[in-house]
């Protein structure tokens, strides 16, 4: 804790609150986060607000913001709905929940100092911090100006200095953290003439609110806006009319902002841990398939080559065999024939020679021709 106990007691006295010394019981679960136990906040009681804009003036002064276009005592400003801007950390708006003829109600728009700030969860340079005091502070020395905090904040609080060229900053209520550290009250609380703003420990403020419900039955909506909204806020609101009528959204739910992103963030390491395994697995399978296909292909080709080789070999040898046989048989035939004929011729010759002596030359000629063809 950056603040001393003494200072802390000082605020309590200044706020006119009883100081509870007993330490608050802390939820013991390992994954529940009760928030900073001693953190402070402000209770805005709409039923006490008279719309005097003195808090706005004080806020402007203590934060050294530029003077407004129209002075703070000009209450006609309230007729127009306004929002926080780079030069106003908070605004009071006037509403007519029961028609213009009935008395108006006032609402405050300003940072609620969430227990689990959406802005802090969203900032990628951790420019926001939830301080032990309860304040959500902003560090302009690291801010990049991405404005994601503005997207994230469910209360649409952070604003941006769009008009600045060199070092535009986010601006929002600081819960007067610098003053808190000095033991001073927030400027707006100090200036409030009607105790519509009460400063104190958040727990005490809640207790005080319940006390008001008991003491003034029928006056309040019996709901502390900010006790549970978006995980709870350090600014709390009481109202005599439905909160939606004084500019507070009632559909925000009670889940704290970091819970919405926890799932997506948790998936990140899973992807990193499992994707490489999965992807290389797929890669290995496709490689393996490819290799098998390759092998099959080469095998098939080799096989085909071998087969054709074998087939042609066979054919060739068969042809050669045949040729050889043919040749052999032809030679044989020719020789045989020649021999036979020669034999015949000799016999005939002998017979002729015995009788007459004519066809000797013709027979010899014919035998020679036959053997030539066979070869």
């Amino acid at each position: 804790m950056s603040i001393s106990r003494r200072r802390f007691l000082g605020w309590m006295g200044a706020a006119g609150m009883g100081v509870t010394l007993g330490r608050s019981a802390r939820a013991a679960g390992p994954k529940t986060f009760p928030g900073y136990p001693e953190s402070v906040g402000v209770l805005f009681d709409s039923t006490l607000c008279i719309g005097c804009r003195r808090c706005e003036a004080a806020c402007n002064k203590v934060n050294h913001l530029p003077p407004p276009e129209r002075p703070f005592d000009d209450l006609t400003v309230l007729e127009e709905p306004r929002r926080t801007r780079w030069d106003s950390y908070m605004v009071i708006n006037k509403y007519y929940p029961n028609g213009r003829e009935n008395p108006p109600a006032y609402g405050r728009m300003g940072c609620n100092h969430c227990k689990e700030p959406a802005c802090a969860s969203a900032c990628f340079v951790r420019a926001f911090a939830k301080e032990p005091t309860g304040a959500v502070t902003y560090d302009e020395t690291v801010c990049v100006g991405c404005r994601y905090c503005m997207i994230a904040c469910p209360f649409e609080i952070p604003t941006y200095e769009y008009h600045k060229v060199l070092a535009p900053r986010i601006s929002k209520c600081t819960l007067c953290q610098p003053r808190l550290l000095k033991g001073l009250l927030p400027g707006c609380v100090e200036a409030c003439p009607t105790e519509a703003l009460t400063f104190g420990k958040r727990e005490d403020l809640i207790r005080s609110a319940h006390q008001r419900f008991r003491m003034h039955p029928g006056r309040y909506m019996e709901h502390i806006y900010g006790e549970h909204e978006m995980g709870g806020t350090n600014w709390l609101y009481l109202s005599g009319v439905p909160f939606a009528e004084i500019g507070k959204r009632e559909d925000l739910g009670t889940r704290a902002a970091p819970e919405f992103t926890a799932g997506a963030l948790a998936a990140v390491p899973l992807v990193v841990g499992l994707w490489p395994v999965l992807l290389t697995g797929i890669y290995a399978i496709s490689r393996r398939k490819e290799k098998m296909a390759d092998e099959e292909r080469t095998a098939a080709v080799a096989d085909a080559v071998a087969k054709t080789q074998a087939a042609s070999d066979e054919k060739l040898s068969a042809a050669m065999e045949k040729a050889k046989k043919e040749k052999e048989s032809a030679v044989e035939g020719a020789v045989k024939k020649a021999l036979e004929e020669a034999e015949k011729a000799r016999k005939a010759e002998m017979a002729e020679a015995e009788k007459t002596e004519t066809p000797e030359a013709g027979a010899g000629e014919k035998a020679g021709k036959d053997s030539e063809e066979g070869a």
Partner: protein, 390 residues
Amino acid sequence: MSSEHATAHKPVMSPFTIVAGIVLILGALVTVLRFTGGLAATTNLSDYNPWGLWIGFDLLVGVALAAGGFVTSAAVYIFGMKRYHSAVRPAILTGFLGYALVVFALHYDVGQPWRLPYPFIVQSGTTSLLFEVGACVALYLTVLFIEFTPAPLEWLGFKRVRNLVVKLTMLLTILGVILSTLHQSSLGALFLIAPSKLHPLWYSGYLPVFFFVSAIIAGLSMVIFEGGLAHKYFHDKMDETHLREKEDVAFGFAKAAAWVLAGYFSIKVIGVAVDNNWSYLATGYGAWFLVELLGFVALPCFLYAVAVRDHNMSLVKYTAGWTVLGIVVNRLNVSLVAFNWHLPSSERYFPHWMEIVISLFIVTIGVLVFRFIVTRMPIMHEHPDYHGEH
């Protein structure tokens, strides 16, 4: 610019050159105004609408449409679809240019661009999804750059370095898929923190999954779409393989896109069911949601399927363009149209014309750089020294 090279056979001032010239001049003027007058001088951003066109279009659409790089390299190198190999280089190049331009565009949008590296060197907001997006985009840009380098290295003739980089292909591809999965989904997850601002029909716990799956669709469609355009304008830069595989790539990717679109359609419907948002369908926003779901998801899914069955190349191309448009519509819906839907119309955002000029300016730069590179480096054809190698 490279007009003398690419349009040597055309008249000196083609309509494209004229339009591009005007956009570049206007863009330069607005750039000066942006960095001398601040965001207020050039944008319609407000305290209610901190993100405008430069995030919705330049970042969200830009990153989604640059998904072709990881989709194609994953298909070819991890899933082993070698026949799509000629599509890898153009896809990596567009991916790289896309991401480089996204980062370039961010310098316009953030308040103090010189602090963009702060999340990594000064103080890290680890709980932020934007931190996750930033880290992945920065890393992935580096990965894409390395994946892209073989082309310029071949062009310049640095063989040794080029061969070293090619050896890293598998590693880079896997890293690229991991990083893409993470940041594509995280871009959707950016909006998880604002359930009270985004219309229930678009807000869903599944947002990260929706963004990731639709990024795959965007990647596939962009490859087909660009392939069609490139075929028209850079025909002479394509080699045999490229021309031969192009049809194959288009039909293969169209089939994949049809199938992924079917999955996307299913989970979108489931998204409505798990949050019981049926009753919103009867409202004005519901009608617009149905236009997106039926007109830009179901319709292209069906058209792709028909085109693949009929082997209808021109239908494939038109469907790809339509699907890309659908992704643009979706991203703008999430970031602008359905965002802040609870606000009165007087507080709603509509881009300033200068914002539109900057977005066009950046797209134009992308096209011109793409043309410069494609007409010089071996992107759509193989470098003769490395024939049939990679």
